[in-house]
């Protein structure tokens, strides 16, 4: 199949090339190749320039930069763990809320809804995905924040005295908090996870599904028995994709996470926190010297996490797929 289209496929091609001057072909190939390589070049440049700019602080603090929660720009001490924690907590809240919802929607669309409604679902999800981050930030900041503040304070009072809940839903919230950021992230990644899981569910063989139904399974049994096991790899991939988006989301989170000058590791999700992208967005414009280097270092960390998530998702999807093959 490929042999003819492939320019370097051996003797036949070179025989053909004698008839048409090979200059434009070579030029075009080089051009295409260069464009392909551009992706590598840009990624390399991102890695090199950002690391280089962050180096003064990275080399000075070394591992302390990543594993300390001590972020004091005035005293030139930079430990980013508090921001990493904020990102992890907000993203986790986002994932925990978004994954069940997305799977529900995807199942509803593929297994339950009549055909006409499917299109509505796709459209709604596409529209939701196209709403710019800053608009969520706007609605959250100007409209929802005051209401959330009342609800959160009520929730905090209600949980007072109850052991674990008291820690997770502590008092003193202004409406912008790790939870608010997590909820917004959930809204933003739901369309992504939904569309991928839908595609995955669509690949479940129709025979398997009909077989289960023919054996007397109800629809929910068919879903738990056939659709979900078959799709575990793809769903894991979708979750990783959502996580990838959530960790780097900037503007909406910046406006809604609260903003703490030196975030600590806390489980109080009603309290304010700060995330890595938000810290950059808030401070880079004004920063100079080591402070700027430390902020760019946050960017380097985000970049490295992106690489790790990509590698991990390949591995996870691979493992699930293999297990499935072994099972069937």
């Amino acid at each position: 199949m490929q042999t003819i289209a492939d320019p370097e496929a051996g003797p036949e091609r070179s025989a053909l090339s004698a008839t048409n001057g090979s200059v434009p072909d070579t030029a075009f190939r080089v051009l295409a190749l260069a464009s392909g390589l551009l992706v590598l070049v840009i990624l390399a440049l991102i890695a090199i320039t950002t690391t280089q700019k962050a180096w003064p602080v990275l080399s000075k603090h070394q591992l302390d930069y990543f594993f300390s929660t001590d972020w004091r720009p005035n005293e030139q001490h930079f430990g980013i763990l508090g921001f990493v924690w904020g990102t992890v907590v907000a993203s986790t809240i986002g994932i925990v809320l978004a994954v069940p919802t997305s799977i529900g929607i995807a199942l509803f669309a593929t297994e339950v809804a009549p055909r006409r409604m499917r299109r509505t679902i796709t459209t709604v999800m596409d529209l939701l995905a196209s709403v710019p981050s800053v608009v969520f930030g706007l609605v959250g900041f100007l409209v929802l924040k005051p209401r959330l503040q009342n609800w959160y304070q009520a929730l905090g009072r209600w949980c007072e005295g109850i052991p674990i809940l008291h820690n997770v839903f502590g008092t003193g919230s202004s409406g912008t908090s790790l939870l608010t950021a997590g909820i917004v992230l959930a809204i933003m990644i739901t369309p992504i996870i939904t569309s991928v899981t839908r595609e995955v569910f669509d690949t479940v063989p129709r025979n398997d599904k009909e077989g289960a139904l023919a054996l007397g399974a109800t629809r929910s049994e068919m879903i738990t028995g056939v659709v979900l096991p078959h799709s575990s790899g793809g769903m894991a991939g979708a979750v990783m994709l959502g996580l990838g988006r959530a960790k780097g989301e900037t503007i909406a989170v910046t406006l809604l996470i609260g903003g703490v000058s030196n975030p600590q590791i806390t489980v109080n999700i009603l309290g304010p926190g700060d995330a890595m992208p938000s810290a950059i967005a808030r401070n880079l414009q004004e920063a100079s010297g080591d402070f700027r280097a430390a902020l760019i270092g946050l960017g380097v960390t985000l970049f490295v996490i992106t690489m790790l998530i990509n590698l991990a998702s390949r591995r996870i999807v691979g493992v699930f797929d293999q297990r499935l093959k072994g099972a069937s």
Binding site: I46, L142, N310
Partner: protein
């Protein structure tokens, strides 16, 4: 698809009419569970649709105060905060301000406008599209027509996936560190569009490669059989065939870039007049960036303008998305 639905219904229907009483009790519980599960799925959809409706109603409702042609073309008022402060007599007496000045009616009350952001968005997104789309399609051509399964192509493909996942703010930092700081080029519409182009490039590559894959190999073989070389085949046969798909993919990438704020934050600077924003190498502003600024400005006029700008941005992004969908739907039908 319709056939499957009816088949499935009939299968379920058959189950609902048991012949054995013992089975019937079990089925009742199972059916109940089935109903609950179905209800939960529908509920999930409603839960996800709610934020969309809420955002849509809020933005549309609040934007009507300012929306209009003149809002879209007028300069951003710079003296709104000053006028509001000067006209507030109650505050003047409470905080020891100028109690005489508040009674004077300002010569011209500042009127809301967002013109520079509209112009800036069009320029930066347009420039980013000019940079990213040709390069992205060429890279896709390399992947699908030349590289295919070679190790280098696989590496490029993997790295493209990685690049799709790189947070948009990292693109902003990258261009800020390289272009603005190291190369000393300063903040400009161009710097912002480079950052946006970095964001768009991998999206264009991925979608274009998918579209090129859909072009039947028979077309390539036919063209080659007529003596065309790969470049001619690609330009004359493959790309024209895939054109609608390429266009829709590119438009989705443009829509994404138009709504982004993070890459623009440190790279674009600021502009308050349409004349100032009509630039490539000078500082400018975009709708998303302006909304972010207006949110944190306070006062009375700023939030109104933020809603208006948000409405404009949503309409722009939506229009691009819907056109892209229409184009791709036509492509899929062919």
């Amino acid at each position: 698809m319709t056939a499957t639905t009816t088949e499935r219904r009939s299968a379920a229907g058959r189950l609902a009419v048991p012949t054995d009483v013992r089975v019937a009790t079990v089925t009742g519980r199972r059916l109940a569970r089935n109903r609950v599960a179905t209800g939960a799925m529908g509920l999930a959809f409603l839960v996800a649709a709610l934020p969309l409706l809420f955002v849509a109603f809020t933005v549309v409702g609040k934007a009507t105060n300012v929306m209009g042609w003149s809002f879209l073309t007028r300069d951003i008022p710079t003296t709104a905060a000053a006028t509001e402060l000067q006209g507030n007599c109650a505050a003047a007496s409470k905080y020891g301000g100028d109690t005489a000045a508040c009674k004077k009616v300002p010569a011209a009350a500042p009127r809301p406008g967002i013109g520079p952001a509209v112009v800036g968005t069009l320029i930066t997104t347009g420039l980013a599209a000019l940079l990213a789309i040709p390069l992205g399609i060429l890279a896709a051509v390399y992947l699908n027509e030349y590289g295919r399964a070679r190790p280098l192509a696989r590496l490029v493909r993997f790295m493209t996936d990685v690049m799709v996942g790189v947070p948009s703010i990292v693109m902003g930092i990258f261009v800020y560190a390289l272009w603005v700081v190291t190369m000393g080029q300063g903040r400009s519409a161009l710097a912002a569009s480079i950052a946006l182009a970095c964001l768009m490039l991998p999206i264009v590559v991925r979608s274009s490669e998918e579209m090129l894959k859909l072009v039947p190999n028979a077309l390539r073989e036919g063209s080659a059989a007529l003596g065309s070389r790969t470049w001619k085949t690609t330009l004359r046969v493959v790309l024209p065939t895939a054109l609608p798909g390429l266009v829709s993919g590119a438009m989705l990438a443009v829509a994404r870039a138009a709504g982004e704020t993070a890459p623009v934050l440190f790279t674009i600077g600021a502009a308050a007049t349409v004349r100032q924003a009509t630039t490539v190498t000078g500082q400018s502003t975009t709708l998303s960036f302006q909304i972010y600024n207006l949110i944190t400005n306070g006062g009375r006029l700023s939030p109104q303008m933020a809603w208006g700008a948000a409405f404009t941005l949503i309409v722009l992004v939506l229009a691009l998305t819907l056109i892209a969908r229409a184009v791709s739907a036509r492509f899929m039908m062919r």
